[in-house]
């Protein structure tokens, strides 16, 4: 704060009685809170209203696999399946690595080193997703193609790996927080009882921290579901269910990549546009559900210890 504005603030302090100022602060805070709730509700409401045309238009194969706007087919199953599939792959990659690294950092390293490692990891969480996307296009998809001897590495697996790398820092740092939050004296007591290190972790620390870890996982999943650019560049954008169904080596489509590719070319107000909005409504619903769940886990106190 500069000197002049500090002076102004002081003058303001003198000018108004303390209670009035408190009221103003309170009103401002309440206003902000209401405003953010209103914004979220307006977004949800807009999505819902804009989805109505496709929901009302009958015979559009909404719950199907055929996407062909020119013939009035708007099957959302393929992108929806792609989103969930990619999310699962990302989870399978990120969660074990994240959990083990978090254990390593929080249980075996000194607190100084821990802070250093964590701040580096948090830097990773701040890298813009398009950068990950470019790395995915330039290197990762070629490596994957070579590894599996494929024609193209723009496949569901590549998108899953990339997303796994992207959500790793988020998951890792929150998991590590959960582990470090377990009081040091629990560890010391357990050790003094003669427990081995792995027993201390398995029986004392993990039960205490598992709620926080679950919350971290759900928050990371939310990020994975909402990611657009990186996925769009490496997934292949093919509106088709993989065949066989759980073949990660085929190209696919997620809801986000679908939206990224098609929103620009659909006319505002058309059924095509409405179908895209409906997809985003589903996506938002899933993410909100995940966030509420993770909030529940992250704030719940560990009970059964």
């Amino acid at each position: 704060m500069s000197a002049t504005s500090a002076l102004k603030a002081k003058a303001l302090l003198k000018a108004k009685p303390a209670s009035k100022r408190r009221d103003a602060t309170k009103a401002y805070c309440q206003g902000s809170a209401v405003l953010s709730i209103v914004i979220v509700s307006v977004i949800l409401l807009t999505l819902l209203i804009q989805s109505l045309p496709v929901l009302m238009s009958g015979d559009n194969g909404l719950i199907g696999t055929q996407w062909n706007p020119d013939e009035g087919q708007f099957g959302i199953i393929a992108p929806l399946f792609g989103s969930v599939f990619v999310m699962i792959i990302a989870t399978v990659i990120a969660f074990p690595i994240g959990l083990l690294t978090a254990i390593y950092i929080s249980e075996t390293r000194s607190s100084k080193l821990r802070r250093l490692i964590k701040s580096i990891l948090e830097l990773l969480a701040g890298i813009p997703s398009i950068v990950y996307g470019l790395i995915g296009v330039a290197y990762l998809n070629i490596w994957v193609a070579d590894l599996f001897d494929l024609q193209s590495g723009r496949i569901i697996l590549t998108a899953g790996i990339l997303l796994g790398i992207m959500i790793l820092p988020t998951f890792l740092t929150l998991t590590e927080d959960a582990l470090s939050a377990v009081p040091q004296r629990y560890r010391e007591n357990a050790k003094s009882l003669g427990m081995y290190r792995h027993e201390v972790f398995k029986d004392i620390i993990f039960p205490q921290a598992k709620v926080g870890i679950a919350g971290a996982g759900l928050l990371a999943l939310g990020r994975a579901l909402g990611e657009t650019m990186a996925v769009m560049l490496v997934i292949g954008s093919l509106d088709r269910l993989p065949s066989p169904l759980f073949n990660p080596l085929s190209s696919g489509q997620t809801i986000t990549s679908k939206l990224g590719r098609e929103v620009g070319e659909s006319a505002f107000g058309s059924v095509h546009f409405s179908a895209l909005v409906f997809m985003s409504f589903i996506l938002v619903s899933i993410t909100i559900a995940l966030t509420i769940l993770s909030h529940y886990f992250l704030t719940r106190k560990p009970s059964d210890v």
């Binding site: 998809n141 024609q151 590495g153 093919l238 190209s251 620009g264 070319e265 505002f268 058309s270």
Partner: protein, 275 residues
């Protein structure tokens, strides 16, 4: 006091938003290189800001129709359904150059001996009836068919000629890409790909296929064949404007048709429309 500062701030933001005389151009990534080259010179000469964005022909049309851009770039004509949607607006098509869509294959296949195909053979690939280069005298390798987003101008010209319908479904497709850049990258990275690119995007990694016509004549994708129209995929590169175009945007359109603009068209690898 708070009120005053809020007003001052919003006034500042509004002022920043309405920068005068900026010309926005948006649309086809095929037309983009020529327009953006011309825009650079136009900016240097007149000082008017020109912002050029890609996004595809369909996107360019929508943005123009909805008033989000001053000039749309399209590598195909406006369709009837598009005109139907915006009946009240008076659109103007202006051809600034000519180009060809070229069926393109990975250089590995080209060097292995596949240098020309008939239109029916290409249709077989995209409809999924043929999935091995061996059928066309190439190596025994699966064909990696690359398609583009349905609204892309290049795609609609290509499928219109090959499949008889610009919006044809292509069950043989293995990958869908967007811009010419993206498709070029996918074909370069593959060693058995086929796709469609604008003529200006061919290079040593992605080779243009010659087309075998019904009478057996083989037409190469050369500048000369595009100029005389014998290559089957020739098209006009268009810029689209509305009746209520702003004067600086109109000046830029005139510039595109003038000698400097036409030179930029030529330098981008396309064929100019006027001397």
């Amino acid at each position: 006091m708070y009120k005053q500062s809020v007003f001052a701030l919003s006034a500042l933001i509004l002022a920043a938003c309405s920068a005068p005389e900026a010309v926005n151009v948006s649309g086809s990534s095929t037309v983009l290189p020529a327009v953006s080259l011309a825009a650079d010179q136009f900016v240097a000469e007149t000082g008017t800001t020109v912002v050029v964005n890609a996004g595809g022909s369909g996107s360019g049309f929508n943005q123009l129709a909805e008033g989000q851009t001053d000039i749309g770039m399209m590598s195909r004509d406006i369709t009837d359904s598009e005109l139907e949607r915006f009946k009240t607006i008076d659109f103007k098509r202006i051809a600034i150059g000519r180009d060809a869509v070229v069926p393109t294959i990975s250089s590995e296949i080209y060097e292995a001996g596949v240098k020309a195909l008939t239109l029916a053979q290409i249709a077989d690939i995209y409809s999924g009836r043929v999935d091995n280069w061996a059928e066309f005298g190439g190596p025994d390798r699966a064909i990696f068919a690359v398609d583009k987003e349905a609204s892309r101008g290049t795609r609609q010209i290509f499928m219109g000629v090959v499949m008889g319908n610009p919006k044809a479904k292509t069950p043989g497709t293995d990958l869908v890409t967007g811009s010419n850049n993206e498709e070029q990258t996918a074909l370069t990275q593959s060693d058995s790909g086929i796709g469609m690119l604008s003529f200006a995007w061919l290079n040593e990694d992605v080779k243009g296929l010659s087309i075998i016509l019904d009478n057996g004549q083989v037409v190469e994708p050369s500048l000369e064949n595009i100029q005389n129209g014998s290559f089957p995929f020739v098209r006009d590169l268009l810029v689209i404007t509305r009746g209520d175009i702003k004067p600086p945007a109109q000046k830029f359109v005139d510039y595109l048709l003038g000698p400097e603009g036409q030179k930029a068209v030529e330098e981008s690898g396309y064929i100019k429309v006027s001397e």
